[in-house]
């Protein structure tokens, strides 16, 4: 096959952080009119490669050719001007500005130096409509959910109409419908000859939209393949460097239904619990050793249910019973005192303290629970932390690393470890596998199962229905902020749940 000239060619890229070689001698090329997947486990170096390209990081070695010319960008501004437009992994917009302004800031249409606000709003509204995003362009960005913010970041990148478009895990917070819209736009841009680099951990997305795959492992290039010629199993093998075992383990998840447990009184039961404007009153009971999956589209109220149970939002109606006695869960502290833990989907603003080390972050909730006057002995801390670093495969396995310097997926694991370590009676996991690679995902799923086997009650929230179905004993479906049905997970398949979500009624 005769290949056209690459629009972007990176060769021998090397980048070292103090103590970590994030990239060693990596080659990467991108052709016009293709969607190119960049794959690899958490911490493989994907985001670093992107930031090396756009000048966020200085590289220690290697060469970058853009349209045949050697470039070294001094920063995102220059990269953007040269036609490289990027959506970084962590949302990088300003919550205090309007949606429209976030799309256009830095390149506002002007007349005589004056920003033309009317034009900005008109163009933003058009663009949002093209992306089928039904939001108010003049509202503050911060008033919308992460998923919407992600779409706005994408809208901005697309509108820069660059030659090279980079998406670093744009889909990790999007639901199926939004992904579909994004893919539609990606295909359209690809037909216009734009080169797209796409990072994702979802294998099906790779096969759905990409033409070519490059795999990194531990900062090294493993290989570049045409997607159509690469079997899924081989792709996973390339990523984790092991043969199939992990994949097989993925499929043999137990789905036993602990029927006996249903008779006992539930660990936590919500009756007519609700909050105006957030979620309509619902009933939900979670028993010892039971995993309850919450399914529903984005914005259907999944996170809101979790926040109510954890006392992060105050309920307007109803009550929560713990072990049969009604308790007042006024705030997260009282929830924690009753053994409820909540691992938030929003790791950046609600979870991690980026300047503390992995160990300090993991130990935080446990220490808070014990009270600050009773410090956990250093030896014990190290034992616990080591155990979870291993269990969750946090890399680098260095408890003294500052969390800020971890890759996105590894930060997620640290947050998860923090709550696991408190051994709560009810663990609420909101999107715990978002942005996490296949291997670690299997690991986390297995952990959930074994925690439940050990008697913990788990409320599991995920946009991925397959995952919810694989793990849960019971499934609760939310739609438009109503809990529409709750059913045991025997013989339920994805399609069935989808139908409930679509129709809003138990079928």
């Amino acid at each position: 096959m005769a290949e056209p000239a690459a629009i972007l060619a990176m060769t021998g890229i090397t980048k070292e952080f103090p103590g970590v070689k994030a990239l060693s001698d990596v080659d990467f090329r991108l052709f016009p009119g293709e969607v190119h997947a960049l794959m690899g486990e958490n911490g493989a170096g994907k985001s670093t490669l992107i930031k090396a390209l756009t000048g966020v990081y200085d590289i220690d070695g290697g060469e970058i050719l853009l349209e045949g010319e050697a470039v070294r960008f001094t920063g995102p501004l220059q990269a953007q001007q040269a036609g490289v437009s990027t959506v970084y992994q962590e949302i990088n917009l300003c919550p205090n500005l309007s949606v429209a302004e976030n799309i256009f800031i830095g390149r506002e249409p002007r007349r005589l130096g004056a920003i033309q606000w009317k034009k900005i709003h008109r163009r933003a509204t058009e663009l949002l409509r093209r992306l089928r995003l039904d939001i108010d362009a003049s509202a503050l960005l911060g008033t919308y959910s992460i998923a919407v913010q992600q779409m706005v970041a994408i809208a901005r990148a697309i509108d820069i109409s660059a030659k090279v478009l980079i998406f670093d895990e744009p889909t990790s917070s999007l639901d199926a419908k939004e992904c579909e819209q994004l893919f539609r736009v990606m295909r359209q841009l690809k037909d216009e000859g734009i080169a797209i680099l796409f990072v994702t951990h979802f294998l099906d997305q790779v096969y759905e939209v990409t033409d070519r795959v490059t795999v990194l492992r531990n900062g090294r290039l493993v290989g570049e393949r045409l997607t159509a010629e690469l079997a899924q199993i081989d792709l996973v093998a390339m990523m984790i460097g092991k043969e199939l075992e992990v994949l097989e383990q993925l499929d043999e998840q137990p789905k036993s239904s602990p029927a006996a447990l249903q008779d006992a009184s539930p660990v936590v039961a919500a009756s007519e619990l609700g909050r105006d404007g957030a979620v309509a009153p619902f009933n939900l009971a979670i028993h010892r050793g039971e995993v309850v999956g919450l399914a529903g589209l984005l914005g259907s109220g999944r996170t809101e249910v979790a926040r109510l149970l954890f006392g992060a939002d105050r309920a307007d109606h109803g009550q929560i019973r713990v072990d049969g006695t009604t308790v007042a869960v006024r705030n997260p502290r009282t929830a924690m005192a009753h053994g409820i833990a909540f691992c938030s989907e929003n790791r950046r603003t609600e979870g991690l303290v980026e300047d503390l080390t992995v160990r300090e972050n993991i130990i935080l909730a446990l220490q808070a629970e014990r009270g600050w006057s009773r410090p956990i002995p250093r030896r014990r801390q190290e034992e616990l932390v080591d155990k979870y670093i291993k269990a969750l495969r946090i890399t680098p396995a260095n408890p003294d690393m500052v969390v800020r310097n971890l890759s996105g997926g590894n930060q997620q694991k640290v947050l998860l470890a923090r709550w696991l370590i408190t051994e709560p009676r009810l663990l609420i996991l909101d999107e715990p596998t978002r942005g996490i690679d296949v291997g670690a995902k299997a690991e986390i799923q297995r952990l959930v199962v074994s925690l439940a086997d050990g008697g913990m009650a788990v409320l599991f929230i995920s946009a991925e229905l397959e995952e919810v179905l694989r793990l849960s004993h019971k499934i609760a479906v939310l739609r438009d902020r109503h809990l529409v049905t709750e059913m045991p997970n025997d013989g339920v398949d994805v399609e069935h749940v989808m139908r409930i979500i679509a129709s809003g009624a138990a079928v």
């Binding site: 966020v56 920063g75 995102p76 501004l77 990269a79 953007q80 001007q81 990027t86 970084y88 949302i91 990088n92 917009l93 300003c94 919550p95 205090n96 500005l97 309007s98 302004e101 800031i105 830095g106 506002e108 002007r110 130096g113 004056a114 920003i115 606000w117 009317k118 709003h121 008109r122 509204t125 108010d136 362009a137 003049s138 509202a139 503050l140 911060g142 008033t143 901005r156 939002d313």
Partner: protein, 329 residues
């Protein structure tokens, strides 16, 4: 979808964004009402105009401070730069014999340059604005005394004419300084709402890391903002020297705190990213009206000004907190 796409970015959603400014406005109205009820002469329109006359320099300084605070920074050097400007002006006019048209641009340049230098240090060495401008504050105050340790009276005809002339509207009047201050505010508000520099200022205050990744010129903006504050301080210094007709190293002691108070009472978030210059104008007026009430009363010690300002600051910071907390969800 709102079709009401106004030219001013804030006007479309008046509700929440404007709560702090509206709160300040109501506060001002209440204070004025109280004054008018208690003291007969208070309701004379000239009283409000005099508040402007007495605080024109503070208004200019606070306008510059607003830019800095919007980026999430702070400028503690403003009071000292004001003093330095009065001192430099007086010395150049009286002792060196410079003509006013040379003195004016020179002192403004010096102010902007000081701000620029502090901005560079803050940005390139990544040092807390608090520390850098604190150093700037000592430096500028110290420089005053290298010029002279005592007050230098100004007798220059241009200066005295600026001090004495009145801009009249019918029976009311203001000083030329008020006009200058209002021009500064209008230009500043326009820059904030309609230029890239202004919008970048808000963006940096909202999230500096994001602003960088979005490809905004963070370095340039941050440095410019301190240069603007330096320039405004120098201009405020010139206006103060019109008002005082002297240069003195003890002028404007503690003025940085008044300026910060005015900005905060005007509804600008100390963490940056949210606020309006209109609010700052209202904030300055609130401070001015408090002083006026206390003067009118005659029995209250002037320390009550500080007490009331302190209390107001608490209230407004709490208010911001409450609004901010609701916004986050």
């Amino acid at each position: 979808m709102t079709s009401l796409t106004g030219r001013w970015p804030g006007l479309r959603r008046p509700q929440r964004k404007y709560i702090p400014v509206l709160a300040t406005l109501s506060l001002l109205a209440v204070m004025y009402g109280v004054g008018a009820v208690r003291y007969e002469a208070f309701s004379d329109g000239q009283v409000i105009l005099n508040v402007f006359v007495d605080n024109a320099f503070l208004l200019v300084v606070a306008a510059g401070m607003t830019f800095v605070i919007l980026t999430g920074g702070i400028d503690l050097s403003v009071g000292s730069v004001v003093a330095l400007t009065t001192m430099l002006s007086a010395s150049l006019l009286q002792e060196q014999g410079w003509p006013p048209y040379a003195v004016l641009p020179f002192v403004l340049f010096v102010g902007a340059l000081l701000g620029f230098a502090m901005g560079c240090i803050i940005h390139y060495f990544e040092i807390q604005p608090f520390i850098v401008t604190l150093a700037g504050m000592f430096l500028a105050r110290g420089l005053c005394y290298t010029i002279s340790t005592s007050s230098i009276p100004i007798t220059d005809p241009f200066w005295t004419s600026m001090a004495q002339s009145k801009v009249r509207f019918g029976e009311y009047f203001v000083s030329p300084s008020v006009i200058v201050a209002l021009v500064v505010v209008i230009v500043g508000a326009y820059v904030l709402s309609h230029t890239r520099l202004g919008r970048n200022t808000y963006a940096i205050g909202g999230n500096p890391a994001s602003a960088l990744l979005m490809g905004l010129p963070v370095a340039r903006t941050q440095i410019t903002v301190y240069a603007i504050s330096g320039f405004c301080s120098a201009l405020g210094g010139v206006l103060l020297s019109f008002y005082m007709l002297s240069g003195y190293g003890l002028h404007a002691v503690g003025m940085e705190l008044d300026a910060i108070a005015a900005v905060v009472i005007g509804g600008t978030l100390l963490t940056g990213g949210s606020g309006y210059l209109v609010g700052t104008v209202l904030g300055v007026l609130v401070l001015g009206v408090i002083q006026t009430i206390i003067t009118f009363d005659g029995t209250l010690s002037s320390w009550w000004t500080k007490i009331v300002i302190g209390a107001l600051l608490f209230v407004f910071i709490l208010l911001q907190r409450v609004i901010g907390a609701r916004k986050a969800r």
